[in-house]
């Protein structure tokens, strides 16, 4: 293939030389061809979780393609999006390693149809313009092929190449990770440097156009570099303002858990922001409630709780309030735990919230971080102070009080995760949270990711799924992120691969639709239409 250069690409856009292609298709380009590794690995493997591949390379290709087909179905338009695909060994040790790398290869600004002075992922621009002006590869993805192959790479673990979302313990769902990484390349990322706040090429991203800081009351795109740096660690206060995500958040997110004072009367009912510690059990409405007692270790700075508590009789059975500073968080909590505390509040000693970190496998009581201001309020009202966690009637878990979903902005900057992900407060877990969780089932649900794409300008397919020319009547996607129709389209390809005759194809599609019906995902009438389409399309 004669590779076009960036200049040729640009000329095509300028002159409108390239015609529209077929339907939007996220195309994979196998960069492992001929290597005998990665996507070409001939090692025999038994089919798993609906993945009919019989070699390791085939299973990787099928799962990779499944992810590409899902995004192809969700996004609407008539252009290809070209993705470099590779599964080769990446740096790894028995206990740690790089799993994947991904990103858009080009950005574009000030094109017709886009917002002025705004930098887009090249794929979004192609979707907006519905023009294949970029004939180069649009997205780069690669995954670690040593996992599960090299015994010295993340020893004991392996990718799960099944397509059914039934990830066994200890495995990493390959389909989920591919969906996640391709999504970064399609549009789920800002180009702003999270360490310096610098804009890429001096132009803010479309992502920054919808990211908003509740404290500064500014869009990320409108901030100075210093303001952006501050915003990227403004935990809980960096939110997405796009209307589609906000409108659909209520369909997906659970009601929020709210921390509030229940006594004394002066502050009862007031709510306060918290941040969970990095050790110990999670705080819940059941394990984090009751009276709060200020810790006293008998030292000159008694509320630091760096020594054994001398007011153990008051602490026992209650929540200890401790100030940050002078010794590790886990030592403070151990001292409170030893005194019989049921939980710990650690007040920051600087502005903002600070998640208490550290290693504490012996810690069995929950810990929450609170702000310096909240700590001061609590100490001023310590006589009879009591708190609780409760389920909010109005606020969503993973959204601010106005319903705008939170972006990941931990107070300790997490490079690569900060900013370009949904917040880990999300409940249920989301595909685009920074950490892969076994509970995510991207084969059926992309939660708010598609809505975020739509906020950025991506056209979405709001129609029904077709098998060949047959309309199944099943919506490609629904508000809230269900992508059942898209799944049918992706499964159609898998069934064609697995079947050696038309009858087997029909059986494959029908059995898949049966599982969707039996799982309550599609009604009986839809099942019948899918079955009829399979017969028609065999």
């Amino acid at each position: 293939m004669n590779k076009p250069t960036l200049g040729l690409l640009a000329a095509a856009l300028s002159l409108g030389l390239l015609s529209n292609a077929a339907a939007i298709e996220v195309q994979l380009f196998n960069f492992d061809t001929g290597t005998g590794l990665g996507l070409d690995d001939p090692t025999p493997r038994a089919p798993v979780g609906g993945n009919p591949g019989q070699t390791l390379g085939q299973q990787r290709q099928i799962a990779y393609q499944y992810a590409a087909d899902l995004w192809s179905a969700v996004l609407d338009g008539d252009v290809p999006v070209r993705v470099i695909a590779s599964t080769q060994p990446l740096p790894c040790t028995p206990t740690s390693g790089t799993l994947a790398q991904a990103g858009t290869r080009f950005t574009i600004a000030n094109f017709p149809g886009g917002l002025a002075n705004t930098r887009y992922h090249i794929a979004i621009a192609k979707g907006i313009l519905n023009q294949d002006f970029a004939t180069d590869y649009d997205i780069l993805t690669r995954f670690n092929g040593a996992v599960g192959v090299d015994p010295n790479c993340l020893t004991g673990s392996d990718w799960y190449y099944g397509l059914d979302g039934a990830t066994p313990p200890g495995r990493i769902n390959f389909l989920n990770v591919v969906m996640h990484e391709i999504a970064h390349g399609l549009g789920f990322s800002g180009f702003e440097n999270v360490s310096t706040g610098a804009l890429s090429g001096g132009i803010p991203s479309i992502y920054a156009t919808h990211a908003f800081d509740n404290t500064q009351q500014k869009q990320v795109r409108d901030m100075t570099n210093a303001e952006r740096v501050a915003s990227f660690v403004n935990d809980g206060n960096l939110v997405w303002t796009g209307s589609n995500v906000t409108a659909q958040a209520g369909l997906l997110l659970d009601n929020a858990i709210v921390f509030q004072a229940t006594a004394p009367a002066a502050i009862a009912g007031n709510t306060y922001a918290t941040v969970p510690a990095g050790f110990g059990p999670a705080a819940t409405p059941d394990n984090f409630k009751g009276a709060v007692v200020v810790a006293d270790d008998g030292s000159a700075s008694p509320t630091l709780a760096c020594g054994s508590l001398v007011n153990g009789s008051a602490i026992a059975g209650n929540i200890a309030l401790i100030d940050r500073g002078a010794c590790p968080f886990v030592d403070k909590v151990r001292n409170a735990q030893a005194a019989g505390a049921t939980g710990v509040l650690i007040a920051n000693n600087a502005a903002g919230l600070q998640a208490p970190g550290g290693e504490g496998p012996d810690i069995v009581i929950p810990t929450l971080g609170i702000s310096l201001d909240t700590g001061d309020v609590f100490k001023a009202n310590s006589d009879g102070l009591a708190v609780s966690l409760s389920i909010s009637d109005t606020q969503l878990q993973g959204a601010d009080p106005t319903g705008r979903v939170q972006l990941y902005a931990p107070s300790a900057r997490a490079p690569g995760s900060t900013y370009s992900h949904f917040d880990t407060r999300f409940s249920p877990n989301a595909l685009m949270e920074p950490f892969n969780t076994a509970s995510v089932q991207a084969n059926l649900n992309v939660d708010l990711t598609a809505a975020l794409f739509e906020d950025e300008g991506w056209p979405l397919d709001k129609g029904t799924a077709f098998l060949g020319h047959c309309d199944t009547g099943v919506a490609v996607q629904e508000e809230g992120g269900l992508i059942i129709g898209a799944t049918l389209v992706a499964q159609d390809r898998v069934c064609r691969l697995a079947a050696s005759n038309p009858g087997q194809y029909v059986s494959c599609v029908t059995e898949f639709a049966e599982r969707l019906r039996d799982g309550g995902v599609i009604p009986q009438a839809a099942f019948r239409r899918v079955n009829a389409c399979a017969v028609q399309n065999r």
């Binding site: 799993l99 991904a102 017709p112 993340l154 990493i172 360490s195 968080f329 900057r413 490079p415």
Partner: protein, 144 residues
């Protein structure tokens, strides 16, 4: 509404790999940028959602194995593809079209990496790593 009609004669992906070509535009030495490619590798236990950073020994061992940039450059070279490594290199390749549109490659340092490690309980935990951040500016959760 659409259906995909990719030819499925074999299990190969929809398109073949492009011919191997090296335009020789850029000389890259992966070791030169290694320090800029190493960021925080904190992860979260997928069951509890809790952070767990790598131990210093784990960090050192992973660092010693490089950042994967060499393998990536080899991969791209095999496919006849080039990609700038740094923001400065990317800006040097910026193109302004007559209609005012501007196209610029994204530097590799701004691409996202997903890291994983095995925790003390044997769970595989994952988290992202931003190659653009120097270790000295990457902060783990404070311990005190």
């Amino acid at each position: 509404m659409k259906a995909l009609f990719c030819p499925l004669v074999t299990l190969a992906l929809c398109a073949a790999m492009p011919a191997i070509a090296d335009d020789g535009k850029r000389s890259t030495n992966p070791t030169e940028s290694a320090s800029a490619l190493t960021g925080m590798r904190a992860g979260i236990d997928r069951n509890t959602g809790r952070f767990r950073e790598l131990t210093p020994a784990e960090q050192q061992e992973l660092d010693a194995r490089g950042n994967g940039r060499g393998e990536l450059m080899a991969l791209l070279k095999r496919g006849g593809v080039t990609q700038p490594e740094t923001a400065a290199e990317a800006e040097a390749e910026r193109i302004i079209l007559p209609n005012g549109a501007e196209i610029m490659p994204l530097p590799l340092e701004l691409m996202v990496s997903l890291e994983a490690h095995v925790d003390a309980d044997g769970n595989v935990v994952t988290g992202h790593n931003d190659a653009s951040i120097d270790r000295t500016t990457s902060k783990e959760l404070p311990h005190e």
